[in-house]
Symmetry: C2
Subunit: 212 residues, 2 copies
DNA sequence: TAGATTGTTAATCGATTAACAATC
DNA sequence: TAGATTGTTAATCGATTAACAATC
């Protein structure tokens, strides 16, 4: 009987990085790869790479030869759900939200932006890359009809918590939060935060240490 | 004698989150706060909050009253270097890079975007929010003159590694990398990665678990 | 004073690394 | 076969949580 191993957050984060590297390998005609090889390139330890790959693939690698590049690619893509498309809406179509609406890269990882929402009358009704920007007060009504469960939150700080209430009402299940504050959501909604301030703080600290 | 405590990456990431929350408190006229209070709101443990605050502030809190909000704010801002402005350039002025050039929020955490660089002839010479877009081959020449040490990397995947070589030559010390691949930099450059694919992967996984 | 909050020291938890036998 | 790579089990490392005495 197959018992699927538990995976940690850190491991999940590494999967897209392996994937990108392996796709590059694949495009260059590389057929096989091994943990030591991936390890050397990406700077992770061999053991870590091995354990990460063990979580996503059922079959084990072969001593001496390693694993087939195309197999790992498929395993990771399957694990991450890149094959079945998920839809999302963007709430807040300012600089960042607008850039995301234009950005074509999301579809490579199975995410399709269906529409945008905003309160700015100048934006409402316009389309960005074929996606319409709807008024925020249509959100509760439209989201169930669009059958979308993920919202990308790129609103100003002040309005974000009130938007969360709307998203709850609309039946949204996951929020990809780019607003740099803590969101108070219930148990029904999961949140993943991308906090640029946090990231920059880490960079600054690394810089200071490196300059010493 | 003061021995400054070591701080972990996780702790650094939390600092801007405390800061935002405390600034909100401050704006609402709240004068004092405590670890239990912050803990309750942000969902971290009390002990964690206490230890985090201990790293940034020299003075200790007072039993029963806690700490002065304005003091913690100052301590965190000082620690993060929000008071002394750092400059940065943006390399790759596409959707994301362009959005960053327009984005006013960076200056609140002490980061000033000086200019952009791109290879696209249609973009070169234009200005976004007062910042000029220069041709990429002027980078090595201009960066030392601008006295800038941080580069925000928002180029396409294919060109990113070659841009890194230019950044090295130009004397850049830190790269804030938004390109979803592993960058090969030397010991002189520090990199902080913001990988949207990793972040989305985590959200998707949380969603799957929550739906079960 | 009593109690809430503090900081410190110890215990736990989780993730990474090391060690090693198995195998193509 | 020999050696590179594998997967597993144990050891280490780091971060979080628990326990508790100190104090305003």
């Amino acid at each position: 009987m197959e018992v699927s191993k538990l995976i940690s957050k850190k491991q999940i984060e590494r999967l897209p990085i392996y994937l990108k590297y392996l796709q590059e390998n694949y495009n260059n005609g590389v057929e096989f790869t091994s943990a030591p090889q991936i390890s050397k390139y990406l700077g992770y330890s061999e053991e870590q790479v091995r354990k990460d790959l063990q979580v996503v693939s059922k079959e084990s690698g072969k001593p001496k030869t390693g694993r087939k590049v195309v197999d790992i690619i498929n395993d990771i893509e399957t694990f991450l759900g890149y094959n079945d498309v998920t839809s999302a809406i963007i709430v807040g179509c300012g600089n960042l939200g607008g850039a995301f609406m234009k950005y074509g890269g999301f579809k490579t990882f199975g995410l399709k932006i269906l529409a945008g929402f905003d309160i700015d009358a100048n934006k409402i009704g316009k389309t960005i890359d074929g996606k319409t920007i709807f008024p925020l007060d249509k959100l509760v009504n439209l989201v169930p009809r669009l059958n979308v469960h993920i919202a990308i939150l790129t609103t100003p700080v002040e309005s974000s918590q009130s938007v969360v209430e709307l998203l709850k009402q609309a039946g949204i299940k996951g929020i990809w939060n780019f607003v740099p504050i803590h969101l108070d959501v219930g148990d029904d909604i999961v949140v993943e935060n991308v906090n640029l301030a946090s990231s920059l703080a880490v960079l600054s600290h690394k810089l200071k240490r490196n300059l010493k």
